[in-house]
Amino acid sequence: MKIITGNDLKTGAVIWWTGQGWSLHVNEAVEAGEDGAATIAAEEAARRVNGAYLVDATQDADGIRPNHIKERIRALGPTVRLDLSLDPSATPAKVL
């Protein structure tokens, strides 16, 4: 699947497109569909996101997992400071 991510303009926080708005939690992301580019353009124009882009991800029973390690680190936090992760279940194995 393709999902959309970017950073919140005011806080810089990593955010994910939920279909209606933006979430801090990757598991709330939705398939971007064919309108991904249009969504990005509209949301950036409305200043609800900064630097948005599409990423490949996989959905399974555990939730949504970005395919590339860089996006997994963005989703879950630095692997060396998981105490700062938004997801209390984040572990190095889950990130990697």
Binding site: I69, K70, V80, L84
Partner: protein
């Protein structure tokens, strides 16, 4: 240390007000990101992996206690309770909010600090020797000249849009503690045969994807022509440096492509022209700056002996202190490469260069109590207290132990430089920090036996972790979406600067730790009396090390 005059303060305050307005307009929507991005970068604000990252300038790595305390307060007030000291003698905060940044910059300005020119294609923070003003081997204190260069390069209208970023380093001793020849311009203050003091200019060094050791461009420039000659070097670069290709835009490429002789000829021509314009700052300004760097009031008649009956203290003194030019004093380095003994006997390594807000305030307080209110940030991501009475070292060490800042590992294999890597950086291809931690934890039991071994890790080819200059270097790369690590041997950033060479095929995260251990085991088996790892490598060459690692 230098204190702002009314012009310095007015410029910094004006910049804060300007950025406050720009930020407001960006959030309100009258400035697009395309227009805002260069403005925030000019104020050191990047958008990184998890949030905005702010890089704060620490001119030539020198800080007062009040400035250091503010850095700790900022970590708690605006970030997540910590800061990261960098290989450019600066500090970075990883979790900054755009909407908070103007207030943060105002707090910085209140202690004569800023984040100007910590990004962009301009002259960046001037770096220098962290032992400046304290070292036994320096000719003169290089900091007044670094400060003069800071003032000249700040908002210099001609050099705010260079082909690429530009880094200058000034030192004044034979022992190079600042990787001087790996800068765009490296300046060594020297004495000529006539006994006059001047500057040797090395131009066109750097790391990144094309590492080059800066060649000597001019052996001796009189000190009162320092700015004029620097301007000549920059002008030739600004005129002919490549703007068509980011990867060939640094001055090292220009010097290499023109050839040293032709670059030198053009600089001399420009230098002769500039001398007719009398652009050198008046001597009175240099003398004014120098007064800020006068020696503190060192006491005389202090004892040189240190009671080393406490074995752990003795170990710290041996590893983390250096001789001072004043009798009865020492230079103390606080390691930010913590190794903490766990209940099961194992060792846990900290994150290189990271310190909590509270630890930063502790170091500020210790500077006030024991080091004439001065600290230095080193390019090896440690903190120096430059002027400590030997009689105070034990009390200092006890305070450092209480703050978990007393790891005695300066320049050993666990004192690792590591860039933020893929844990924080958008440019990185692989993580650096966990590799540094694994190497440190594996090697800690043998570190004392191995002795001096400078290990440096970068998470991408941009080489912020100085892997080219490591006795052992590690470069993280992306191999089809998987982190992979190349091993390099033989680099050195000191007076005998050399560039490390890649040993062979890369390794995964665990494999690179094994490879480092094999290399050090081979060294221990082969070393001759008094040889460091680097000496043994230079004597034997790559082949036997490669065989030991891959065989």
């Amino acid at each position: 240390m230098y204190l702002y005059d009314q012009y310095d303060q007015a410029m910094v305050d004006a910049r804060v007000a300007e950025f406050r307005d720009q930020t407001r307009r960006r959030i309100e929507g009258t400035l697009s990101e395309e227009k805002f991005r260069p403005l925030r970068l000019q104020n050191g604000l990047y958008l990184q992996l998890h949030a905005y990252m702010l890089r704060v300038a620490v001119p030539y790595g020198t800080l007062s206690g009040a400035q250091m305390k503010m850095l700790g307060d900022i970590a708690d007030k605006y970030d997540r309770g910590y800061g990261h000291f960098t290989t450019r003698q600066n500090i970075q905060y990883n979790w900054i909010k755009l909407e908070d940044t103007p207030d943060l910059l105002a707090d910085l300005a209140s202690v004569e600090m800023h984040a100007i020119q910590t990004s962009g294609n301009c002259i960046r923070n001037i770096s220098s020797d962290q032992y400046a003003g304290a070292a036994t081997d320096e000719l003169i204190d290089p900091r007044p000249y670094a400060e003069l260069l800071r003032q000249w390069s700040s908002f210099h209208p001609e050099f705010l849009a260079l082909p690429r970023k530009f880094k200058i380093c000034v030192i004044a001793s034979e022992t190079d503690r600042a990787a001087m020849r790996l800068h765009d311009i490296g300046i060594r203050i020297v004495k000529n045969d006539a006994g006059e003091i001047g500057c040797a200019f090395y131009v066109g060094g750097g790391m990144g994807r094309t590492p080059i050791i800066a060649p000597l461009v001019k052996e001796f420039v009189p000190l009162d022509q320092l700015i004029t000659y620097s301007e000549a070097c920059l002008r030739v670069y600004n005129r002919y440096g490549r703007r068509d290709n980011k990867y060939k835009a640094r001055i090292k490429i220009l010097v290499h492509e023109l050839g040293l002789e032709e670059y030198r000829r053009q600089v001399e021509e420009e230098f002769a022209h500039l001398q007719t314009l009398a652009i050198e700052p008046p001597l009175a300004e240099l003398e004014r700056i120098k007064t800020y760097f006068a020696d503190p009031a060192f006491e005389t008649g202090l004892p040189d002996e240190i009671d080393l009956s406490n074995a752990n203290f003795a170990k710290w003194v041996k590893a983390n202190t250096a001789p001072h030019k004043a009798a009865g004093y020492a230079i103390a380095t606080i390691s930010l490469k913590a190794l903490t003994r766990q209940e099961d006997g194992s060792v846990k390594a900290g994150i290189p260069g990271d310190a909590t807000g509270e630890q930063i305030r502790v170091m500020a307080d210790l500077a006030k109590r024991y080091s004439f209110d001065e600290l230095r940030v080193t390019h090896t991501q440690n903190i120096v207290l430059p002027h400590v009475r030997k009689a105070d070292l034990f009390a200092l060490w006890q305070a450092l132990v209480a703050a978990e800042l007393a790891t005695p590992n300066l320049d050993d294999v666990t004192d690792i430089i590591a860039c933020p890597g893929l844990d924080y950086c958008t440019l990185a291809n692989a993580r650096s920090i966990p590799v540094a931690q694994k190497v440190a934890e594996r090697m800690a039991p043998k570190a004392e036996e191995i002795g001096e071994l400078k290990l440096k890790i970068s998470g991408c080819i941009n080489a912020c972790g100085h892997h080219h200059a490591g006795h052992i270097g590690i470069l993280g790369v992306d191999r089809k979406g998987v982190e992979n690590y190349q091993l390099l041997l033989g680099g050195c950033e000191g007076a005998d600067t050399s560039l490390a060479s890649i040993v062979g095929p890369g390794f995964n995260e665990d494999g690179i730790v094994d490879a480092v251990e094999k290399a050090t085991n081979f060294y221990l088996a082969q070393r001759q009396e008094g040889e460091r790892f680097l000496d043994t490598y230079r004597r034997l060459g790559m082949a036997p090390f490669k065989e030991a690692i891959y065989g």
